[in-house]
């Protein structure tokens, strides 16, 4: 088992290196002279020379890459080209906001997706399954920025029930924080709930057809016990991995949700950076998201090895 985990960790390293190359490569596809693009409106030769020197643009490519990686490894992602604030500071400020959004969305998605999936599998061939399938398809197809706009029009403008935008940190006012995040997190959870429902359903269907379930039934275990104790336990195994994989989707979806609800999080950071041509920030965000995703995957796989008895003794 230890060998298995070690091998898994080793595989993550080349992936991380490749991701860093992709992120580094991004700035190389900028059209035109990178220094002019980086400087924006600034045309002072001294500034241009400073930038050229800072990013070592006269060095050969591998040297530039090595210098960049060296800085990144020391926790230096560069500074915002507009505000001169270190990119790491910006990310550290925005990350908790998006994490709150993502965790709340994940909670709704699990709360709706998994029971709906179980129900659809148990009630196979009935109206319940049909309804769940239609709901899942709609959840996957609805653009979440549109759903957000519709909800704002209905809940905030018509009914005046919840705030339409903004962010309140939970440390300041827990209840208000929950209320402002409620709509955005529900919007963000739709696609996720749909995926979870579909996977739980197919995974449950497979488990319900398995031999051990038939054995349990033959033994006289109650239908409820069969579903909850025998089928569900096995069906949820692949879902654990899926949940971590979907966290990446969540971060991407958060970009749009934050834009609609004007939430000052990670997504707003990258979009604003794109419009300000603040490339260092864009690069930093992409790198952090990707690295976080790789590490989460690693953790998920290790957990899977640990909880799966078939692999525990491998």
């Amino acid at each position: 088992m230890l060998k298995l985990i070690l091998r898994r960790v080793l595989v993550a390293i080349p992936t991380l290196i490749l991701v860093s190359m992709i992120v580094f490569g991004l700035q190389k596809i900028l059209p035109g002279d990178p220094v002019l693009t980086l400087a924006g409106e600034e045309r002072d030769p001294a500034v241009l020379d400073y930038l050229r020197d800072k990013y070592r643009l006269d060095d050969p490519l591998p040297m530039q890459y090595a210098a960049w990686v060296g800085q990144v490894l020391q926790g230096d992602l560069g500074r915002s080209l507009r505000t001169d604030v270190p990119v790491t500071t910006l990310i550290a400020q925005k990350l908790p906001v998006t994490l709150q959004l993502a965790v709340m969305a994940m909670f709704w998605a699990l709360l709706i997706g998994i029971p709906a999936g179980i129900l659809a599998a148990v009630k196979k061939g009935t109206k319940v399954e049909y309804g769940a399938n239609v709901a899942a398809l709609s959840g996957m197809s609805i653009p979440n920025f549109w759903l957000g706009i519709l909800l704002i029009m209905l809940v905030s403008v018509q009914w005046r029930l919840l705030p339409a935008s903004g962010y309140v940190p939970p440390s300041q006012d827990l209840w208000l924080s929950f209320k402002t995040m409620l709509m955005p997190s529900i919007v963000l959870s739709t696609a996720l709930a749909a995926y979870l429902m579909r996977h739980t359903r197919s995974s449950m269907l497979e488990a319900l057809n398995a031999d051990y379930v038939r054995t349990a039934r033959a033994k006289g275990v109650s239908p409820r016990g069969v579903v909850l104790r025998h089928a569900l336990r096995n069906a949820l195994m692949p879902i654990v991995t899926l949940v971590t994989l979907l966290f990446g989707e969540l971060l991407a979806g958060a970009v749009l949700t934050e834009q609609v609800f004007t939430i000052p999080g990670f997504g707003k950071l990258i979009v604003d950076a794109v419009f300000n041509r603040d490339y260092a920030v864009v690069q930093g965000v992409v790198l952090v998201v990707a690295a976080g995703f790789i590490i989460m995957n690693l953790v998920a796989d290790v957990l899977y090895i640990l909880i799966n008895p078939r692999l525990r003794h491998a």
Partner: protein, 296 residues
Amino acid sequence: MSTPIATSVAAPAMVAPARRRHRAWHKFKRNRGAVFGAIVVLIFAILALFAPWIATHDPLQTSFMAIRKAPSAAMWLGSDELGRDIFSRLVYGARASLMAGVVSVLIALAVGVPFGLISGYFGGWTDSIISRATEALLAIPFLILAIALAAFLGPSLTNAMIAIGVSAAPNFVRLTRGQVLSITKEDYVQSARALGASDTRIICRHIFPNVMPPLIVQATITIATAIIAEASLSFLGLGLQPPTPSWGSMLNTAKNFMTQAPWMSIFPGAAIFLAVLGFNMLGDGLRDALDPRQEK
């Protein structure tokens, strides 16, 4: 399994595809969801192809007399903040959306399938390198990668399509590779090799046709994802640039007029939703029809 066991190598290879296709078509026809999806896709395709004849107004014609007018007999879905007809803009917007969906998936296929074939067929070092690169690309969430690429390449429909295509390619590499790995073990590939067929011939004649069905399913579903992705990029201002109509950018403007002109938001979003739903249902139907594992 009621299918007769094949005794010769040549016969089933000649007969089976036609019969399988017939059976798949039969299954597809009976699936109400799939047929609904196909019809929706067809309607949007007709809107996109015949936009100039279907649109009732010039989609770019502004009019100060008709700013933010509610839906009426003259303007079926109302008008926007510059007095342009929303129905006509939606019809033309179908062009951008469908083109983005189809072209970016073609890019993803063109990049993904060859790498997947090479990776799965030859294995070894090539496979390791391609697999690691695929994992690295998959580690960056689809939309974040597309935003970053669109940001660095500059905002335009072409760049959005390239960004979406490149971000979707790793999925096709994975799918193709997995399929190739399982097909290479099949007897007919082994016997072709024993008969002295070249690698190119085995890949083109024996492996590729068998990889096709899952690729068609994946491509259809990816078109749905790509349409949402294009709409998202346009919504963020990173896709098709104004004044050319696109559903995403229409929503981007509309969100500033939520209270005054709700119809500006409702219809473009509904168009995205329906188009994406259509491709998703079509994809699901194709999967049910083409996936031989589901045959009992």
